[in-house]
């Protein structure tokens, strides 16, 4: 019926060329990372064993396992969550349910963007100035965790706000019409409908917190400790800092060991992120409105 003109054909060819060009770019971006991860896996996997995960480093950290660092990372993440999740959820409830559309709300949003954008080493300096020196926590799990909590606060706020705003307005209006107060509406209707979404945000925060190094270097994480921490005012080892230490600071390090540490750290982080993504997809499939 229609004959393709020369112009049509030219446009078609150009489109195919551009399409494959962009596809190649995508491949070039992803492929080296896949190769790198493959190398990490190839060199790191032989190092990892039950013993590697559950014993202390020995022989000036050139042998033995990573247990104190693993435990330290878990402790740092837990304390950081205790501080940032209540605060972040409160902030998100305010922004989604109460905040008027004015300059003060804009200022809060701008502060959140900046909190996420400030370099991690500046967060570290803040942690030193505020928690270690001013509040006299010393270099401790508490100081390091609070620094991490402030740094990752935007992750919780943004994820929670999004899931609260995804709850349809009609749900709230129905509840208000029954005479419920704002808080009753939030507690009985909005939060239960948003809880899985909030959880995805919390998991993402765990992943972010576990991988951060700079903010904990001077606030509570130590290169090496002979004993496990006894309380939140003790210093601790951490997996991320341990990777930095074993790959740069220790002479005579066997080549494979840092690969093992890197593999454990990256598996932890990617596992958490995959979990968060899976939860989000499950949620999207379930949604009825």
């Amino acid at each position: 019926m229609f004959e393709a003109t020369q112009l049509n054909r030219k446009n078609e060819t150009r489109q195919t060329l551009i399409r494959s060009g962009l596809g190649t770019m995508t491949g070039i971006l992803i492929l080296p990372v896949a190769l790198i991860l493959g190398t990490l896996l190839y060199k790191g996997l032989p190092v990892i064993s039950f013993e590697f995960l559950f014993t202390s480093p020995t022989n000036g950290m050139t042998a033995g396992g990573i247990f104190p660092a693993l435990l330290g990372t878990v402790l740092l993440v837990l304390v950081a969550l205790l501080a940032s999740v209540p605060l972040g959820v409160a902030a998100a409830i305010y922004l989604s349910e109460y905040a008027p559309n004015n300059w003060s709300t804009r200022a809060i949003n701008l502060a959140i963007i900046n909190l996420a954008g400030v370099p991690s080493i500046v967060h570290a300096l803040f942690g030193v100035g505020a928690f270690v020196i001013f509040f006299k926590f010393g270099t401790s799990i508490l100081a390091a965790s609070l620094t991490l909590a402030i740094m990752t606060l935007p992750v919780v706020i943004v994820a929670t706000r999004e899931s609260l705003q995804a709850v349809p307005m009609a749900f709230r209006e129905a509840c208000w019409n029954m005479g419920a107060t704002r808080w009753q509406t939030i507690r009985r209707v909005v939060l239960p409908n948003a809880v899985t979404g909030i959880l995805t945000g919390v998991i993402l925060e765990v992943s972010r917190t576990a991988g951060e190094t700079a903010p904990i270097m001077f606030t509570g994480a130590a290169f090496f400790l002979p004993l496990l921490p006894q309380g939140v005012l003790d210093q601790t080892m951490a997996l991320s800092l341990h990777l930095f230490v074993v790959s740069t600071q220790v002479p005579g390090m066997p080549e494979a060991l840092p690969f093992g540490v890197a593999l454990v750290l990256i598996s932890m982080v990617l596992l958490m992120n995959s979990l968060s993504i899976a939860l989000r997809m499950y949620l999207r499939g379930k949604k009825k409105w």
């Binding site: 962009l22 790959s247 690969f259 990617l270």
Partner: protein
């Protein structure tokens, strides 16, 4: 309401009491969540106040504007005369971030266009998840990759003595920043209403013509915001540049020169300084500088992205 004086045993009373209580709880919660909301502002101000407080002694004492910004000599521990010039450190940060952006901007914009406009169904979903996972790799792991994988590759390929240099850190930083820029750019492309595309397609435009003539101009601000956030991210990155640049003070003349970044200097030296010394305070002053620059970048990105929503 507060002054209700109804006998304690009447049925009315408990009803009013409950309403009263609910009202008070509601107000209390409103105050609590408001505190949560303004905490972000408090923290941002707190960060500025506390790093300024620690850096204050240097700013009013040894600080010399001309030396600080225009001298390439960073010799904070010199016996004879300490100099605090950050020009070489700025050059280090700028060269690495610049190379990273040369790599990351075209690739992430290309990938974003491919994901948002060409890919569909399973491919699209797969690419989106991959990009999200790549963005999650911790910076210390990237630094380790630069050190243990890129370093020998660069030495072998280019036959240079040291593989920890601008090239190494720039590539690492580019790979790091690209996934983040890709997802923000993809969001910006997706924010362009479908009716724009449909209108253009109805006029007989091919997919690429639609993208080039309609989608890209409409998403311009969002894409610029993505690029700016990528720059901010590269500029503030610490662990990866500490481990992959070679960490030696240099104004680079080629990509094979080792350099040292602003962020990495703080990370490497803060542990060795005595609290309150000029060196310690000078490191906090670099922190103030970093804070102000990233604040401006983020503010600009926010204003630009907001521009499209209004327009």
């Amino acid at each position: 309401m507060e002054n209700q004086t109804v006998p304690a045993d009447s049925g009315l009373d408990s009803g009013f009491d409950r309403l009263n209580r609910d009202w008070y709880i509601d107000k209390a919660v409103q105050v609590l969540v408001f505190i949560g909301g303004i905490s972000a502002i408090v923290f941002i101000i707190g960060i500025f106040v506390f790093i300024s407080k620690e850096g204050f002694g240097f700013l009013v004492g040894d600080f010399n504007f001309k030396e600080f910004f225009f001298s390439p000599n960073w010799r904070p521990t010199s016996e004879s005369k300490e100099t605090f010039g950050i020009l070489a450190l700025i050059a280090g940060t700028a060269s690495v971030t610049g190379l990273a952006m040369l790599i990351a901007i075209p690739f992430s914009l290309g990938t974003a266009i491919f994901i948002a406009e060409f890919a569909s169904g399973k491919t699209r979903e797969f690419l989106k998840i991959t990009v999200e996972l790549l963005a999650a790799i911790p910076s210390v792991v990237w630094g380790f990759i630069g050190l243990a994988i890129m370093n020998p590759i660069i030495i072998k390929t280019f036959n240079v003595p040291v593989g920890l240099n601008v090239l190494n850190a720039g590539v690492i930083l580019g790979l790091m920043a690209a996934p983040i820029m890709t997802s923000i750019a993809e969001d910006a492309l997706k924010a362009v209403p479908d009716r724009y595309r449909e209108a253009a397609e109805a006029m007989g435009a091919t997919r690429w013509q639609v993208i080039y003539k309609v989608v890209l101009p409409a998403a311009k601000n969002g894409l610029l915001g993505a690029v700016l956030l990528g720059v901010g991210r590269g500029f503030g990155e610490t662990m990866a540049v500490l481990m992959a640049t070679g960490h030696s003070i240099n104004i680079p003349t080629s990509v094979f020169d080792s350099v040292r970044a602003l962020t990495a200097t703080i990370a490497a030296e803060l542990g060795e300084t005595a609290a309150g010394s000029s060196h310690y305070q000078a490191l906090f002053t670099i922190g103030i500088f970093l804070f102000i620059i990233t604040f401006i970048i983020n503010l600009a990105a926010d204003l630009i992205v907001r521009g499209i929503r209004k327009g």
